[in-house]
Amino acid sequence: MFFLLPGAERNRKKLLTVLAVLSLCVQSCFPLSFVDDAVHAVLGPVMQPITRLAGAWSSLFQQLPQVDKSANTYNSPLISAERQFGHPLDVPGVAWLEVPVLDIDEESGQMKLAAGRNFHLSAGQIVAFADNYLGRISEVEDDIAYVDLFNRAGQRTGIKLLSKTETTRAVCFGRGLSGSAIIDWIEDEKVVEAQATLWWRPRPLDVAHLSKAGLKLGKAVSEGSAARGDYMFVVAHEIPASAEGRVYVAASAIGDSIVAEPIVHHQTAQRIMLGDAVFGNRLLAVASRASFAPAVLSDHSRVCGQVIAWRGNWGWAHLQQPSRWINESVALHDGRVRLHDAGEDQVIYTRGGSGVPRGMLLGESNAGLFTPSANLDVWLAPQSKGVVHQ
């Protein structure tokens, strides 16, 4: 015969309860998104009316703007500036295809583009931004292309040095994260002058006129010491901040369009409650019919904050002042785009990445929080899920 000890059943229940509560705590602190999504899918419709009720009550005591602006397509000055500044020189027989950038991975020395075979891109095409040569397309998928940047480890790129009388050919060799690309070979072992401009030199199978596009890699800078025997010239180069948004691909044959627009999902949204019962007034509950989980919330043209939780057809956004977007924002300076530096007063825009579209207005960098109006917009750039590494 098998006998349970006195209280064994009760202890078993206790143990199960403790385990259940512990697993809930673990899920709270280290959430598995599919579990939360499933719970929100079931309970979201029940919770939203309660949120609306609480929002209606709160709004009686809050000074909320009720301005009802019409939603227009937002034309970002940043995108216009990137297009104006980034287009390389037109040369005969070459069209420059505008392609959005998804990611720049300095570790692998690759750039990922948001267009591929379907946009008639192919391996070997050169990629540039303004007068900067960036690299060549190495691999093409249907809607994605990979560019080997010229400083990718092991990448060899032809360069030329121009003087008043002659042109000297040379080759640079990428070193990846180990350092700038080194000038590996110089025709007739000529001497390189410090700060000499290093121009890109086309390969024999490239369109001949591309050499007239005036693309350059950077400046020659000396590195190391002759006494140690490691004196060499390297290519001083930085990828322009604008090139994180879009680059230009040289093509001698084109399809229907020469501009590949990045995919950006957009939907109108309504403010349902300003403030959160746990975290205070930095959070805003919004509802939207969006069929996607949005990444960012805007009061039409100006970003209010990032959407941090989405529960089917409503969610929570974290209201952020522009200064909180440090390292995730860019600014226009003399018509050119550059990363926003802390402490500078300027109008800043989103840098893109993590699902946030590039070029959305954040406002003056020193501006405070603003209270969003009742009618809002939610956005998602599904291709830019990765963060731009720079």
Binding site: D276, R282, A309
Partner: protein
């Protein structure tokens, strides 16, 4: 007097409607979590032999809380159930005759919720200072300790 569960649910609904606004008042950040407070006051110590009603109450409160907060229903459930569990464990060790014991057990039962809130805040990079959480925990303990609950005062229709 028996206080039925439905009364607590109605009270919780009223709190759910009003509390987000209260949180935005100048001292609102320091207010204790209203649903936790209500749960600790509603459930007697030690808990009834069958914990079904307290657990149902905790689940309902969690749903209401997460309707007006970023915390997911799972996080709210975890916070409220952990609070009940911790308090139940302490109640069996400590007498509730002294204020300091009641205060200690209530403070410790509010700690899991504070930790979970801090964890959620850090996941979403929301500012939630330790000082704020400490105030919430201490105030929860103070209020709960002021209102002495005994098992003889049945909250769920049991025999008084």
């Amino acid at each position: 007097m028996k206080v039925r569960m439905s009364v607590y649910l109605v009270l919780a609904l009223v709190i759910t409607t009003v509390f987000p606004w209260m949180r935005q008042l100048s001292v609102g950040d320091y207010l204790p979590d209203a649903w936790l407070l209500l749960l600790l006051l509603a459930v007697p110590t030690p808990m009834p032999h069958s914990a079904r009603k307290p657990i149902i109450l905790a689940l309902c409160f969690a749903l209401l809380r997460s309707s007006v907060a970023l915390s997911s229903p799972i996080a709210s459930c975890a916070s409220l159930l952990a609070a009940l569990m911790v308090r139940e464990g302490l109640t069996r060790l400590l007498s509730d005759s002294l204020f300091i014991y009641r205060f200690s057990s209530a403070v410790l039962s509010a700690v899991p919720m504070a930790l979970i809130d801090i964890s959620i805040a850090s996941q979403h990079q929301i500012e939630l200072s330790y000082t704020t959480c400490a105030w919430r925990v201490l105030l929860t303990g103070f209020i709960v300790a002021l209102v002495k609950r005994r098992s003889s005062n049945s909250m769920f229709g049991g025999k008084g």
